[in-house]
Symmetry: C2
Subunit: 340 residues, 2 copies
């Protein structure tokens, strides 16, 4: 029997279609891909720094911020050459007939994840991934100084099916003058939960999930890897911090390695055991200037592209997930346990 | 300069990224495809009726409802063999720990658009398309009798990239025990507009668009083809009825041919002039049992799959449209005017 499962955070129903459910292994066969660099000249490679707009930040392989003339970099942050948002724009909207329009004000930055021409995050070590997380935090803290920016989304597209137009592994930062509809929904949903129970929804999810132990994949001292009960996508996987905090940029520096350990486990699983599907990841973190201390709990979501959002999903906003998170979490946990 | 445009109906911002804007012709080159039937035995072909679950409705080529033994059918409606929703299910939800779950109650029907093995709606005549619209209305009126069903979405996926798993042209009906998140947002947005101005948002959009004439593609006595100001997708195209009514199933029978004329124009344009991209379409129609007379205005949306929703769109719910509706509407209007 198919099920409606209520997403507590977004406060809406999701369909888990067990009639169409596929066994976890079925997803692998569909997606096996051998990745091969295209051989084209890449603007993100070491030596081609002049092909990008002037950089915002350069970090060496030990995590130190270095000068833009220093060739031994590991990570660079540059403005997007074809930005969807621009920093120099009028701050308000104007009327066009009955419509409101405003300049696309905001920031759109690219984080080059490695000076080497890598196509896949799993080619990086845990330590190298921790440097990327460190850069995310540095940029968030810097962007927060601009009071016109309300919220920031940090994300990564890997693979053509996930929308990556440049193969060299890179993350993107979008800084927006308002909260996105998804963040607004999460804020509303978690505030409603908090007002009702005087508890954080995500803290409650964590404690229930750790007890039920059906969708937990891995945990270390600071983080849990799990798949959500009301999963929207096969193998959608979350990293949730055990301690409650609304904002990613305020996490303590000494827990970054534990976060990188989780990220490494997941991207390695996607690469080694799931046939290297394209995927997206993004950080859901609280607004920069509005206090959401009690009810919002930042988290990290990874979504492999294993199914197509068709007319029903577009028209309704309801996702149909063709695998149960219990099955896929079990499959993932077994693969991972062999290594860790 | 990229722009934020406010979607009046959904009451949220969309990004039109002019830095990345492509000329309308650019979309054609990316997508040219020659369609060819797979040659596999098809459960939707005439003669294979026993391969589907027992049918709900059978219509002949003149629009008459005929008996299930009559082989001269044009359209059949059958329950989906692998339904995402089921009619026999418990009506309410149960608690699973902290979560709410309920049986996937609802209807999931398939409308076989033609007894011939066609892969593309443009292979049907205007009259044949009007029969499909007639079937949509008949099913809506029938489903409305079930008071447990709150809302219905009627949609079509054409092409593999749009999520069609069976190539033989077919529509789908999903009947839900609640309003979908997108419908709820549209109801909220248009009610807010109505309370403020005492006018329907879509009626206002129509009168402004007809005056400005930048995004109007075609009109007949009863309908307008246009592209929305806050477009979410390149070449996203809407059919809007000129007279205000919340519910598609209540339109007068004599305007169906005018609707079919619009649908034919669009699917022919997609096929002949846009390189036959995969596409989705769906009807946004009001809830079945809740009165939305003053503020909701049904409409029909077609979305060709010309871009990928990547991490940003998934994480934020904000769409980035890489073409302006002014450019694509102009391109489409020119192509269409040559014929009509």
């Amino acid at each position: 029997m198919p099920e409606f499962r209520r997403d507590i955070i977004l406060d809406e129903w999701v369909i888990i279609a067990t009639e169409r459910a596929k066994r976890p292994e079925m997803f692998i066969e569909e997606k096996v891909k051998i990745e091969k660099p295209s051989g084209m000249i890449c603007p993100f490679d070491k030596g081609n720094e002049s092909m990008t707009p002037p950089e915002i930040l350069r970090m060496d392989k030990n995590g130190a911020i270095i000068n833009y003339t220093n060739p031994d970099w590991q990570i660079r942050v540059v403005p997007n050459k074809f930005p969807a948002l621009k920093p120099f724009a009028a701050p308000g909207s104007v009327l066009h007939g009955i419509y409101n329009v405003m300049d696309g004000f905001g920031l759109h930055e690219v984080i080059i994840n490695s000076s080497e021409h890598i196509l896949n995050l799993s080619q990086l070590s845990e330590y190298q991934l921790s440097l990327i997380a460190d850069v995310y935090i540095r940029r968030l803290k810097e962007i927060k100084k601009d009071s016109r920016i309300e919220s920031v989304i940090i994300m990564l597209n890997q693979g053509r099916d996930a929308g990556a137009s440049i193969e060299h592994s890179h993350s993107q930062i979008f800084a927006l003058p308002f909260n996105s509809p998804v963040l607004e929904k999460e804020l509303r949903g978690t505030l409603k939960y908090y007002r009702k129970y005087k508890r954080c929804a995500v803290c409650d999810i964590l404690s229930f999930e750790l007890k039920e132990n059906l969708r937990i994949i891995f945990e270390n001292q600071y983080f849990v890897i799990m798949q959500p009960f009301a999963s929207r996508n096969p193998f959608e996987t979350w990293i949730i911090p055990k301690s409650h905090h609304p904002n990613f940029e305020n996490i303590k520096e000494d827990i970054i390695p534990a976060f990188a350990q989780c990220l490494k486990i997941i991207v390695d699983f996607f690469y080694n055991d799931l046939g290297n599907p394209s995927f997206n990841y993004y950080i859901h973190t609280g607004p920069l200037h509005t206090k959401t201390d009690h009810h919002y709990h930042w988290h990290f979501e990874l979504v492999p592209k294993l199914s197509i959002k068709a007319g029903f999903e577009i028209a309704t906003g309801i996702d149909i997930c063709v695998a149960t998170p219990e099955d896929t979490a079990k499959f993932m946990k077994e693969k991972i346990t062999k290594i860790h």
